[in-house]
Each structure stands twice: as C-alpha cells, then as structure tokens.
Amino acid sequence: MTGGAWLPVSVVLSSFLTGIFIFFLREDQLVLRSFLNLSGTVLKLGLCILLLWGVAQGFVFTFRLPLGAGLDLVLFADPLALQFVLLSAGLWLVTTVYAIAYMEGSPERSRFFGYFSLCVTATTGIALAGNLLTFVIFYEFLTLATYPLVVHTGTKEALRAGRTYLIYTIGGGMLLFIGAVWLHGLIGTVSFGPVPALAGTDLPRGVLIAIFWLMAGGLAVKAAMVPVHGWLPTAMVAPAPVSALLHAVAVVKAGVFGLFRLVYDVYGIDLARAPEMTGVLAVVAAVTIVYGSLRALRESDIKKRLAYSTVSQLSYIALGIAVGGPLATVGALAHLVHQGLMKITLFFCAGRLAETHGIHKVHELAGIGRRMPVTMTAFTIAALGMMGLPPVAGFISKWYLAMGGLQTGDDWVLLVLIASSVLNAAYFLPPLYVAWFSRPAAGAEPQARPMPGWVDWGLLVPPVITASLALAAGAVAALPISPLAWAEVIVALRYFPVTEPAP
C-alpha cells in the first residue's frame, strides 16, 4: 500500500519552517517564540507517530523529488528510519522545553532556536533519507546548521571549538562525498532498503574496500571514533541543550546511523563482513570504546567527562554494526536509542547543575544529592545505565552486543565490553559518590542562584522524563513497543528469512 508522499516531507518541513520563522523574531518575543517552538516540536512528533502508525499498517511512504541528471532526492520511512526519526523528534520535544528554560535571559535566542530547528531538520532528513545522495545532502546540511550552535556563546574558546568542529566534519564530509560519488558513478542510484544496493554487482574488491573506507572514514568523524573524535569534547563549550541534543544524540548518531546504512543497505552484511572492512572497523570501535573511557577518567569537568563517555559509548553502536550478526546488530540499534536517552539525561542534569548552582567540576558536586535529589536521581539512573547495569536500558544493549559477539565467534568483544564497563564504573561512580555521600567543606556549599520558577521546572522535567524513558526502555525491553523490539524488526528484515533472534 502506498501512503502519502506528503508525510515524510512534512516531518522534515515541520521543523524547517519553524526554524525559518523563528529566525525573524525579535529577541523579546519570548512567548511567540516558545509557542512556535513547542508547536513545531509537538507537530513533528505527532507526524512521526502518524508515520509510525502508517508503517505499522503496511503503508509505504516515499517522497521523490527528481533533481535531474538521474539524481533523485528521496525521503522514505522504513523501520530503521522510524527508529531514528522518532528518537530525534521525541528528544527534540523535551530538549526544546529544556532549552527554552535554559536560554532564558541569554542573548541571540532567536538565532539559537532557529538553528536548533534547522539541526533537527537535518537530522530528520538523515533519518528519512531514501538514498545515498539524500543522505549526503542532509549529512552536510547538519554540519552547517550545527556550527552556529557550537559557537553560540561567541567566546574565544567557542570559536576555536567551532573551527575544530568544522575542520573535522567538513573533512569527513569530503571523504563521504568522494566515496558516495564514486559509488554512484559505478552503480548508479544507491537506494536504501533491506536489499543491499551492491547485491549482485560485480565490482573489483580493491574498489569496494576503497569506497568502504572513504565512506566509513567520513562517517566515523561524526561518530567520533578514534582518531577523529577530537571535535566532540571540544564542542562541549556549546550551551547544554546543544550538547545534549546534538553532541549526544543528533550529530553523533547521524554518523553511526550512516554506518548502519553503509554496512547493511549499501554493501550488505555478507559483502561488508570482511577483515579489511568491518573487521578493521570493529577494531577501531573497540579501541575507541576503551580510549574514550580512559580519557573520561582523567577529566574533572563534568561535561568533558560526559563527552568522552559519549565517544566511548557511541562506538558500542559501531562495534555492534561492525561485528555483524543479528544479535550484535540488534544491540547496536537498540543502543542507538538507549544511549540517546541516557546521555541526554546526563547532559540535562549537568546543565541544570551548572545553571542552578554553577557546578562544572566533579568535586563541586559534594552534597548536591541532598539539595537536588530528583535531578541527581535522574543522573544516577542514567549513569548506572551507562555502566550497563540493569534495569536501565544500557544493560540491554550491552547484553545483546555480548550475545552477538559470541554468536559470530568474536569472543574478544566480551573483553572490550567488560573493560569498558569497569572503566565506566570508574569514572561514573566517583561523581555519584561525591554527589550523594560527600559533604561539602564548610563554606563551600553550592549556592542556588535565584531564577524564575518556570525556568527551574523547565530544567527539571526533561531529565526526569528522559531518565524514566531510559529506565523503562530497559525494564520493559521485552514489550513490543520497546526500542529493542523495534531493533529486532529492523534486523529481521535484513536477515531474511526471519530468524527468531534469541534473547
């Protein structure tokens, strides 16, 4: 059955038009701006849910815009696209609430929210991209739309971070671009879907490997894999909502999402699973996992620590994709959502701590558990999830990754996961300890800054929601609506005939 082509387009446009409107608002039009923002996000989420419903009913939504010369811009909604688009739309909603509160009283808010919406537009476009060209277009668009947010504060440090960000991402974008064009020249339009684009083609192996590494290299930049991860910790100078949504969810996820499309939809796992391709990718991912954790250990700045944690955690997803096999891939795709929920909670909490009490370093957390029990509970849940402890979502992904590693005979994955879990504990437990058990030195108690009540609530509710979702995603992972179940659907499509994935 064919559904309307308008639906995928309106999912993308709902945030785009919002963003454009917001650009032209005056600074003091707080209510109108917030209304536009929120209605845009709610509309987008509603449309996404409608899309989800439609796809569940068996409709196929495809939007095709011929660009001429045999190039098409295609937006479509397959289960994988839905997973990502729902994640970004849902988190955009909570982040918008958070950001409205967070940015209260700071300059250039119209610009901020304008670009914020554009970023989500790009992310949605990446999610719904139906072919490689469309993916590349939105992938690059994301780079451009994010830069203004990274440098938003306008300080020297922010501008330097912005420069670093651009150097890395534009460099990566170029690699992806070359790879995509090369492949396009060889086999024509590269459509995404359960049937790999390269299936049945007969290209020289050397060319295949070269293209794979051009594209994977480009994607690895946004996925912050070692050694091209340097932009991510630097970009943490951005305001907290930006770090939360973009550097923990949208931008970095775009990279790993692309890796999945590359391995499964472009190459096909049978072709891609070779020592020269996914084999090396898996090793790089493993190195990144451990490296990120080790670096996080040394950071005393909370946001920096979280950033390196992101570097590490993202490569879980890359690792799952690279290891291949149904179970590891399920784990990877589930982690796509799980990590997003957990990391956004952590950044929300970090931002709230910084805003309300001026806390930026780990040691400054002393005694905050008693003052802000709800925030710190959310933080704790997410942190425990990051360590992979049940019943938080992170446990589920880790479990599946391990099962997947064993399934394909890559037993070394267990060692990586264990090393990472221990290191995660080593860098997440100290902040928890300090927050809950330490008592601040006399006179050094964190002082609450006065702020309007709605701001306070606006900073509190989003992390509570996301933490609850992270908890729920793990605790009821067996339900058919969980990210895990959805990941199983996606993977089952790729491994046709449907093999019942063992838990």
Binding site: R295, P390, W399, I418, A478
Partner: protein, 580 residues
C-alpha cells in the same frame, strides 16, 4: 494469586524504598512490611514459577526446594532487622537514606532468590550489591569510607567476572532461564573457564578466600541491623548463585570441585585463625562468616565433584550447602543483632544478653541439639556420597574447622563481654527483635532443616552426636585454658592481623599500580593533542604560504608580466592546438 505474590516479593521492598524516600515517617513499618511477602511465599508457595514476559528481556520468578529455605532465611532476617533498625536508628539524622538503601538492598536480596532467569538474577544481584554500599558507607567516617571503597571496587571487579560467565552461558543456551543456562554451561566447551569466572565473581560476595577482604572491613562499620542481614542473608547470595549457575547435577568437574573444596577448607581454617586474634566483636563475627562460608564452599565443591552418574550425590551436597546456609544465616543474624543489644545494655540486662548470645554461638559451633548438628551431619553425608576417596583427609580437617569455630565463638563472647557498652539501656525495641531472632535461630531454623526426612535420624545416631560434640568440647576446653592463661598474665601476640588481613599487603601494591597508571593515562591525551599540534603546524605553514602568495600575486599585476602571460598563453594554446 501466587504470581501476584511472587511479584510482590521484590516489589514490596521496592515500594518500601519509595515510601522511605517520600514519607520517611513510616519508613520502618514499610521496611518490615516489605519483607513479609518473602516469608509468606517461602512458607506457602508450591514449586511453581511464573513468567513476567514484559519485564526486562522476559523474566521468570519462582521458588523451589533450594530457594525456599534461603528465601525464608532472608525474609525473616530482613523483617527482624527492620524492626531492630527502627529503634537502633531512632536518633539517626540520616536514617531516611539508610532506610532507602536498606529496602533497596532487601529488594535485591529477596529478588535474586526468586529469580528463575539469568537477567533477573543479575538485576537483583547488582541492586543488592550497589544498595548495600549505602548501608556500609552510612556512618560516614573514614573507616566506613575505606570499607565502602574496598567493597564497591570488589563489586565492580566481581561484575567483570560474572557478566562474561552469564554471557557465555546464555549464549550457549539461547535462553535466559537459569535451568537452560546451567545445562548449557554443563555442555559448554569452556565450562572450566566459566566455572572459574563464577567462582571469582560470586566468590567475592560469598567471601571466598582471596576475595574476602571486604567482609571484615564492612561488617564493623555498617550499622548493626545492616551487618546482620549482610552476614546472615546477603553473602548467601553468592552461595545461591553457585548453586543455580553451576551445572552441579548435570556435569562432573572433579578438578574444579577439588579446587573449591581446598579453597573452602582454607577459608574455614584461615577465617577461624584470623578471627581468634581479632578483638572487635563484629570483626570476629565477620571472620567467622568467612570461615563458615568456607564450609559451604566445601559443600558446593562436593556437588561439583560428584560424579554425573550419581545425581543423588550432588543433591546431597546441595542440600548440605542449603542447610548450612540457613543454619548459619539465622545464627549469625542473631549474633550480630546481639552485639547491638550488648552494646546498649548494662547491668543484669547485659549478663542476660551474654547468656542469650551463647545460644546461637553454640549453634554455630555445632553443639547438639542445635541446627548446627544437622548442618554438619548433612555435610559429612554429602562428603561420604560424593567424594568417598577424599573422605579420609576431609573429615579431620572439618573437625579442625569445627574446633576453630568453637574457639572463634568463645573469642567472640569474651570480646563482647569485655567491650564496654556505649549506652546502658537497650529497651524493648532492640530486645524484642533480638530475642525473636534467637528463637528463630534455635527453633524456626529447624523448619527447613527438618524437612528432608532422613536427616534427623542420621544426625541423632550416636556416632554423629559424638563427632559433632567433641570438637566443641575440645574447643571449649582450649578456650578455657587460654582464658585462664590470659587472666594470669597478659599475653601479647607477637603480631597483629588488621581486619582485612591480606588487604593490608595488597593496598600499597594497588596504590603503587594506580599511581603508576596515572602517567600513561595522562600521556593518552597526547593523542588528542597531537591532532591539535598538527593543525597548528599546518596553520603556521599556511600563514607563511599566505605571505608568498601575496608577493607573487602582486608581481603578477605588473604590465609586462600580464602581457607576457598573455603571449605565453597564446603561444601555448596555438602550439597545443597545432601539434597536440
């Protein structure tokens, strides 16, 4: 109904934790109520499991012969500890957080007992371990801080051993049900490694020998009710884990069984030896727990070594382990609660307390007609069936351990007696739960112990009675002699064994390792910085290039050069067009 009740077993303490956090006024009642479903299920539930398909990856809860006694033990101990804590923490300004942790730990403890699948088991195990940190750390002084640090480090290390074992098992089983996992481990090509991982991982909780260091640190600093459940119930989780994960009846691993037995015996003797030279009552009890857990480890080893062809051998050993666990749990719980009472009692009340305290102490030593007799008999029976070849050296060593236990108990009683009370009125709030605890240790503990019919007759044979009594007698006699000697002149030991014994040796090494690791860790950031340096270098080069670009561009604006370039280009194109 049953399924609902089974769900309540972990759910009730979780709700109690919520109550403790939100309405602190009812925290103690909530905690006590939280333990009730566990007791009820342990007493009434038939052997039945229920599926909870929506939980985690699909959970299964239930009880069976192995779990029910341990569940009963856990339920009762937590209930008593909750009642006890109500008074004990009456004036504690931070009792709210203690009760939150208390209830969470309880949820973990009872939850893991009823878990029938690996993930749920792991969930509750981790919950118990992490929440217990809050209780250990509760006092907040430096000693508690150190104990907490050691504890949490070992928990994390333990997790690093447990998870791969679970993964290997579950992957082989393609199922999460513990029965399947166990069967898969039995068949697994690297089942030896899995057994080793399980020993290390759960051995930390069970206080197995090289991993026991946290116990003597944690027990004295934890609040008394917490110590009681810690030693009485929680460390049994490690034992239960062995029982449910190891392929005890399915496969025979004699080599691993022997290792288990040797390590268990070593722990039994070592714990007793170190316990004797300690002087703080709760430290002595902690070492006693290590020693007793060693005996249970021996039982697990016997089950592991039992020939696969002889399933009744394995079940005898399992039975022994369970009985020992129940017996020890009740008795140790009572003893720990007793330290708190003695600490708060003066005058005649104190004398009564000491007398009452002797009851569970004797039970631990195994004096007939306490549960200790039954437990020890069961252990010996298991040894006879499962590993007759090893019996000749096993039996004397067990006897030595029994002597040691008696001595440790004697040392404990003396230490309690010498310990000056910090308050002189305990009140009913402590006395009541404690006396109930003693009663349960002496009476209720028989309930699970007596259930297997043939055990009591076997324990009441004269031979069994004698072999159970003489170590106690010897131990008592030795204790009296030593006491006498000490009364005449102070005996100064030539050495002191600090609580946590080998930890004192390990800590400097670890500290050195950590500080040695810091430098390479710092060097790691060079990877990040090298990219920056490269970029900077490029920028400098680019600046230099910019200057020369500017110079050249300026030169190109000179007219002779423009016209020259024009001519040269004209020539080039003409030549290429002509000669190509």
């Amino acid at each position: 109904m049953t399924s609902f009740a089974l769900l309540l077993v972990p759910a009730a303490p979780l709700l109690a934790a919520l109550v403790a956090a939100v309405v602190p006024a009812h925290r103690a009642v909530a905690a006590a109520v939280g333990a009730v479903p566990a007791i009820v299920i342990a007493l009434i539930a038939p052997d039945r499991s229920i599926e909870v398909p929506w939980l985690l990856l699909g959970a299964e809860l239930g009880t069976d012969d192995v779990r029910r006694p341990i569940l009963l033990l856990a339920g009762v101990l937590w209930l008593l500890a909750a009642v006890y804590a109500r008074t004990y923490h009456r004036h504690d300004p931070r009792s709210r957080s203690l009760f939150v942790f208390f209830n969470l730990t309880m949820a973990g403890n009872v939850g893991l007992i009823v878990a029938f699948d690996a993930v749920t088991f792991y969930l509750f195990f981790i919950l118990m371990n992490l929440a217990a940190y809050g209780m250990i750390r509760h006092v907040g002084n430096a000693e508690a801080g150190r104990a907490g640090r050691v504890y949490i480090t070992l928990v994390i290390i333990g997790e690093a051993f447990i998870l791969p074992a679970l993964w290997l098992g579950a992957s082989g089983a393609e199922s999460l049900a513990l029965a399947d996992v166990r069967a898969a481990i039995a068949e697994h090509p690297s089942r030896g490694m899995i057994a080793g991982l399980l020993f290390l991982g759960f051995g930390i909780k069970a206080g197995a020998l090289p991993l026991h260091v946290w116990l003597p640190l944690a027990h004295p600093v934890a609040p008394t009710p917490a110590s009681a459940v810690l030693s009485g119930s929680m460390i049994k989780a490690g034992l239960l884990a062995w029982l449910v994960f190891l392929p005890l009846a399915e496969a025979s691993l004699p080599a691993w069984g022997l290792a288990w037995i040797i390590l268990g015996l070593a722990a039994a003797l070592f714990g007793a030896a170190v316990g004797i030279v300690q002087d703080r009552p709760k430290v002595i009890l902690a070492y006693s727990s290590i020693s007793q857990m060693g005996l249970m480890t021996v039982a697990v080893g016997l089950a592991l070594a039992a020939p696969a062809a002889l399933p009744q051998a394995a079940s005898a050993a399992i039975l022994a382990a369970v009985l020992y666990a129940v017996h020890h749990g009740f008795a140790k719980g009572a003893l720990f609660l007793g330290t708190g009472v003695a600490d708060h009692a003066g005058g005649s009340a104190r004398r009564w307390a000491l007398v009452l305290m002797a009851l569970p102490a004797l039970a631990l030593a195994g004096l007939p007609p306490t549960t200790g007799l039954a437990a020890k008999t069961a252990l010996k029976q298991a040894a006879e069936v499962a590993a007759p070849a090893w019996l000749p050296w096993l039996e004397p060593l067990l006897a030595v351990a029994a002597v040691g236990t008696t001595l440790v108990m004697a040392r404990f009683l003396v230490a309690v007696a010498r310990h000056a009370p910090t308050a002189d009125h305990a009140g009913g709030g402590l006395w009541f739960p404690w006396s109930v605890a003693i009663a349960t240790a002496m009476l209720l503990a028989w309930l699970p112990v007596a259930a297997p019919g043939q055990l009591i007759p076997a324990a009441l044979t004269p031979a069994a009675l004698i072999s159970a009594t003489w170590p106690v007698a010897v131990g008592a006699a030795l204790a009296v002699i030593v006491l006498r000697m000490c009364r005449r002149r102070t005996v100064a030991l030539p050495f002191r064994v600090p609580p946590g014994d080998i930890l004192a040796l390990e800590e400097p090494v670890i500290r050195r390792l950590v500080s040695a690791g810091r430098a390479p860790l710092r060097r790691l950031s060079v990877v990040d910085r090298s990219m920056d340096v490269a970029a900077h270098f490029l920028l400098v080069r680019a600046r230099a290039m910019e200057v020369s670009v500017g110079r050249l561009e300026k030169r190109m604006t000179a007219w002779p050069i423009i016209v020259g370039a024009f001519g040269a280009l004209l020539l080039t194109i003409a030549i290429f067009t002509h000669f190509g």
